[in-house]
């Protein structure tokens, strides 16, 4: 809602600049989007009198005009507007002027003819297309005949006003009008406002003889009409047009303009019908009937819903109540009798109708938020009075009041101690009472208890908390002290699972992975990949795009999307992890369960290539190292084992392992299947995904000091040839089992399966470290143990010791 600074000043003796007023409104009432003075940025735009025009010799549409701009000699200006005519007062952009969008106008030649400036349309000097009167939409604007050549045009067009654009919150429907805003400003500045008192002159027949209205009061608790006859349609006077276009409305004709003007002033939407187009003298406010249709003012055709409220005559609906009037009964050339409607419609119906028909109008917006239930008669009278004064109409006697259920004002009790206890202030009773009174409330006191009667127009105030807001904002939020909560102490501590999640992130970052946050909504295809447990997909009922339509059931695909994004931008080395939730749903349930997961994806090289370190493309074992180090950080209490998994459809069948803790599968890792990589348009990528919730829930190994032996360790190396299908795990397990009491560690130091070993075989070499914690080991003991190991390797695994 754009509100005019000058208009406000007509009612309120304000002594502040527009920008300061806007700031005050923003800090006390509602947000301000913008403060604009339409003439800002414009320069040297003056009234010109078109003395003569002649056709351009080399053009079929240009005219050469001699224009008096108040200087000694007229200016010659070439103009292409179709509506240019001798004698007009026009807007002239002089040489050196600035018009809209900071465009500079210079002397020039148009098809060889010198032109000293430009005759302007309203659009060219910054008016939005939507507010320019239709008759000037395609040409230059013609100023009133009494405009003085050479004068700046701004005042003639209301362009020196400042327009404050209010972004009214849904609860403050009362601010959608001049009067509502004035009420608030009156409280903010503690200044009185003198509102106009309409003085309608009734001269015609009694309206009751000409019109009866039948209202379903559950749909329209208030409904009134006045009738004005002998109306002469004409353009509105300039002052009215200015009010309208400055508020963002296109002037149309005096009758329609008056209804818009009254809405802006009082906040009460009015509708003007052409009474002569009613099929009879009866008007009905009712629900639409199945199959009824209506063509609205904007020429939109609507199939009406039985929940729509319509205004109807004896034959058919003539308006979609509270939203938009019908075309058939609209004010148009030839209209002489106007029925003016002022009503209140049930807001929920209006909201749904506006949504249903996609017609969000200024009227529907106001009815949705609630209008001033005590202001209908004033608005109606003021409109009738203006139709008399501006359109020569004869106001028929009386008002048809078909329904007039004005709600009782809210009466709210509040105590001073409550006010100060909630706001943290030390306000006295007189101050609080005064604030409430400036807002229009009646206040009676009983000790520290205040009984507050709230004006009906403030339909947002119902409970003590609402009054607290009023007191706080008018008192000023800047005046509130700033303190911290006191009272009983509370512990601020992360839970065990929150601590583990933080530790998870720190661990993986320390291991070289960047944290990613990807989209949890994805495609059905991707949601179903890399599944760690069977689950139904969960789909959005009404997604915005197919890319984000299904809840993820894995974290990896999001990371693969990230890698694809990087890869498409020539970033080839990417190492990411993500901690987030997956959504598993059981068949027959609506709501999925949420499980915390941790996943990683690495492509290219983990370490950036450098002058002293050759690029090492990421491989299975690098990622396994990361997973192992991470699990060690998490101190899961139990053996971590990696078991080849050849069956995951999205994974490389030969390079994938399930990750087990104490025999329970908590995740998997490996290389993604080349066909998946191709699908995502990425290179070889290694991934892991773990059920983080499982890790959180597992018992943990507490740190424990273990004495470091003072006695020397003895090492023995063993190299062996084994069949290809013998695994490292088998060998290590055997060595550990047979290595005796002093075997401290087994470390693989070489793997070879090249040309020097027989086909089907591989060579593995291990270092075994022996140590006694209590005395120096004797070589013989070690040799004995080592030989035992060698023998078992030969016997059990068919190893050939080398």
């Amino acid at each position: 809602m754009k509100i005019s600074y000058n208009w406000i000043k007509e009612y309120l003796d304000l002594n502040v600049k527009p920008a300061d007023l806007a700031e005050k409104i923003e800090r006390t009432s509602v947000e301000v989007d913008d403060v604009v003075k339409p003439s800002d940025g414009l320069k040297k735009l003056v009234v010109g009198h078109v003395l003569s025009i002649e056709a351009h010799p080399d053009s079929d549409h240009l005219h050469i005009c001699q224009v008096d701009v108040g200087e000694d000699a007229p200016l010659q200006i070439v103009c292409g507007a179709p509506n240019i005519a001798e004698g007009q007062m026009v807007i002239v952009a002089l040489p050196g002027s600035r018009i809209a969008d900071n465009v500079k106008i210079k002397k020039s030649k148009m098809r060889g003819v010198p032109s000293a400036g430009m005759i302007c349309s309203l659009q060219e000097i910054g008016f939005p297309e939507a507010v320019v009167p239709k008759e000037y939409a395609d040409g230059i604007y013609v100023l009133p005949a009494d405009a003085k050549p050479g004068d700046e045009v701004y005042d003639y067009l209301g362009m020196n006003d400042s327009l404050i654009d209010l972004d009214v919150t849904p609860n403050r429907g009362d601010m959608l009008s001049l009067y509502g805003t004035l009420h608030d400003l009156s409280a903010i500045y503690d200044l009185p406002v003198k509102f106009d008192q309409p003085a309608v002159k009734e001269a015609g027949e009694p309206i009751a003889d000409q019109l009866s209205i039948h209202v379903d009061e559950s749909l329209a608790p208030q409904y009134k009409m006045r009738l004005v006859k002998q109306v002469k349609l004409a353009p509105s006077p300039m002052w009215l047009q200015i009010r309208l276009w400055n508020a963002g409305y296109r002037p149309i004709n005096n009758v329609v303009d008056i209804t818009n003007y009254i809405m802006l002033k009082y906040g009460q939407p009015l509708h003007a019908f052409d009474y002569d187009k009613f099929a009879g003298e009866d008007v009905y406010v009712r629900n639409a009937k199945a199959g009824e249709k209506l063509t609205t003012l904007d020429e939109g055709e609507h199939d009406l819903d039985v929940n729509d409220i319509v205004i109807a005559d004896d034959k058919a609906p003539i308006a979609l109540a509270g939203v938009m009037g019908g075309l058939d009964t609209a004010i148009a050339d030839g209209t002489t009798t106007v029925a003016i409607e002022a009503a209140v419609f049930e807001h929920d119906h209006i909201r749904k109708a506006a949504q249903r028909h996609n017609l969000h109008t200024d009227a529907s917006q106001r009815f949705e938020r609630g209008v001033n239930r005590t202001g209908l008669q004033d608005a109606l009278d003021a409109a009738a009075q203006m139709m008399d004064e501006l359109a020569g109409g004869t106001v028929q006697t009386g008002t048809v009041v078909a329904a007039d259920n004005v709600p009782a004002p809210a009466v709210i009790d509040i105590t001073m101690s409550r006010v100060n206890a909630v706001l943290g202030t030390d306000l006295n009773q007189a101050k609080v009472t005064h604030i409430l009174e400036t807002l229009g409330c009646d206040v009676t006191a009983d000790g520290e208890k205040l009984t507050v009667t709230v004006p009906v127009r403030r339909n947002d105030i119902h409970i003590p908390a609402d009054l607290l807001e009023e007191i706080a904002r008018i008192y000023g939020y800047d005046e509130l002290p700033a303190t911290l909560p006191t009272g009983r102490m509370t512990m601020g501590e992360l839970t065990t699972s929150q601590k583990l999640m933080r530790a998870t992130r720190h661990s993986l970052e320390g291991l070289g992975l960047n944290q990613a946050i990807s989209y949890a909504l994805t495609t059905e295809d991707k949601a179903k990949m890399f599944l760690m447990q069977p689950s139904e997909v969960t789909k959005l009922a009404w997604p915005m795009s197919v890319d984000h339509a299904v809840l993820r059931m894995n974290v990896i695909t999001g990371l693969l999307d990230d890698i694809a994004y990087n890869s498409a931008r020539k970033v080839k080395d990417v190492a990411l992890y993500e901690q987030g939730r997956v959504f598993y749903r059981e068949d027959g349930t609506e709501r999925p369960s949420e499980q915390e997961h941790i996943a990683g994806a690495i492509t290219g090289t983990l370490l950036p290539t450098a002058w002293d370190a050759p690029a090492q493309p990421v491989d299975f074992y690098q990622v396994k190292g990361i997973v192992a180090a991470y699990l060690k950080d998490m101190a899961v209490n139990g053996d971590v084992t990696y078991v080849a998994n050849t069956d995951m459809p999205e994974m490389h069948p030969g390079r994938t392992a399930d990750i087990l803790v104490h025999g329970h599968r908590i995740g998997f890792m490996g290389q993604i299947h080349p066909t998946i990589a191709k699908k995502f348009k990425i290179g070889a990528t290694y991934v892991f995904e773990l059920n983080l919730q499982a890790i959180i829930d597992m018992p943990k190994q507490e740190n424990q000091y273990d004495v470091i032996s003072r006695y020397p360790a003895i090492t023995r190396d063993v190299a062996m040839l084994v069949d290809n299908d013998v695994t490292n795990d088998q060998i290590v397990e055997l060595i550990e089992k047979r290595g005796g009491a002093f075997l401290q560690s087994v470390k693989l130091f070489d793997v070879y399966d090249g040309v020097k070993v027989p086909k089907g075989k591989k060579s593995l070499a291990y270092t075994l470290t022996f140590q006694d914690k209590h005395e120096t080991l004797v070589d013989d003991v070690v040799t004995q143990a080592f030989e035992k190991v060698e023998k078992r390797l030969q016997d059990d695994l068919g190893a050939e010791i080398r």
């Binding site: 919150t169 909630v422 607290l468 303190t483 601020g492 990807s518 989209y519």
Partner: protein, 348 residues
């Protein structure tokens, strides 16, 4: 020539030879030739037998003095030469210290995570719990218990991803207010919590909109919590995230679940409050919504609104990050371009 003169001469000659010695081998030779068993000093000392008993100790002492001096000179020369050798060796080992260091594998927390962690740590220090709630929420918690009944105008269907009629992707972290209010035992102490998490809106992604973003909800309920406490708490938050120079102002606003409702602005960091394009010449930038918890919200969760009350606020870490680092496109946070992620490396 007296013995003493002889010694003096030996001394001078010795010092000269030491000085002349060019390497460790020379030094060794000089030492042997001067001080060795067959060397001249030994010889001189042998000649002492011929001296008076009175003279003998004097010359002996003098000879020792000279021997000590030459020994010291030899040691000094040896050290000089050793240093020279070492220095030459080190000079040979010189490297270009401006070559880059060997890369180490190092990852960074996501910038949004950094902001969430910072907020969490601040509030943990003030005795708040950190709670996380479901991302798939019931309509009841997301809307109804937040004082947004089914036909409420502020509840725009367009903005919500519904799964079924009653199940939806949470549009805000506020349902955690209802969930914790429902379960909190006030006899054990006040409720002070923050709840960070992912939220979803039915929006088309563009530079300023994302269908997925983050929120941190804050809630404090006790017997004597004031709006001044809210203001003070938000001030602490702004100072923590942006710095002490930043001021907070409150403006009236509207949320169905708070009354009074406010929006909090902080000093524009682009212009420091003077007014610029970023803050539309106001000197202030809107950063969060807050208010005193609406009595209906307390009542619906079974809390006695006549006894208990307090404040709630909702912070958008995405917006904070955009403002703090001048990120011009919210989509950057979810596309995970590593060149973007690696820009936020400052710790502490």
């Amino acid at each position: 020539m007296s013995l003493k003169d002889k010694l003096n001469e030996l001394h001078e000659r010795g010092l000269a030879e030491i000085k002349k010695s060019g390497d460790l081998k020379d030094v060794n030779q000089v030492r042997v030739s001067l001080l060795g068993k067959k060397g001249p000093i030994t010889e001189v000392l042998r000649g002492m037998r011929d001296l008076d008993a009175e003279e003998r100790p004097k010359v002996g002492a003098f000879a020792n003095e000279i021997r000590d001096d030459l020994t010291a000179a030899l040691a000094k020369r040896r050290e000089e030469l050793e240093n020279a050798v070492l220095n030459a060796k080190l000079a040979n080992e010189a490297i270009d210290v401006t070559l880059p260091g060997t890369p180490v594998a190092k990852g960074e927390p996501h910038v949004i995570q950094q902001i969430i962690d910072q907020i969490e740590d601040l509030f943990l220090g003030m005795g708040y719990q950190v709670l996380s709630g479901p991302e798939v929420e019931e309509d009841k918690y997301n809307f109804e218990m937040m004082n947004l009944p089914k036909n409420h105008p502020a509840r725009d269907m367009q903005d919500t991803f519904y799964i079924t009629k009653e199940i939806l992707m949470r549009t805000q972290t506020s349902p955690m207010q209802a969930r914790t209010l429902e379960t909190h035992d006030f006899s054990k102490g006040p409720l002070k919590m923050i709840s960070p998490g992912v939220v979803y809106r039915r929006d088309t992604d563009d530079p300023t909109h994302s269908h997925q973003f983050h929120q941190v909800e804050g809630l404090v309920i006790d017997k004597h919590i004031t709006m001044a406490d809210l203001k003070g708490t938000l001030q602490v938050l702004a100072h923590e995230l942006f710095g002490d120079k930043f001021d907070v102002r409150l403006r009236p606003s509207y949320f169905p679940f708070t009354e009074p409702s406010v929006e909090a602005d902080i000093t524009c960091f682009n212009c420091g409050g003077k007014g610029c394009k970023v803050c539309k010449n106001t000197g202030w930038i809107e950063v969060l919504g807050a208010g005193m918890v609406h009595p209906n919200v307390l009542k619906m969760a079974g809390v006695d609104a006549d006894v208990y009350g307090g404040f709630a606020f909702g912070v958008g870490p995405d917006r904070f990050a955009m403002l703090k680092y001048g990120v011009d496109d919210i989509r950057n946070f979810y596309l995970n371009d590593v060149r973007f992620l690696n820009q936020f490396t400052k710790k502490g």
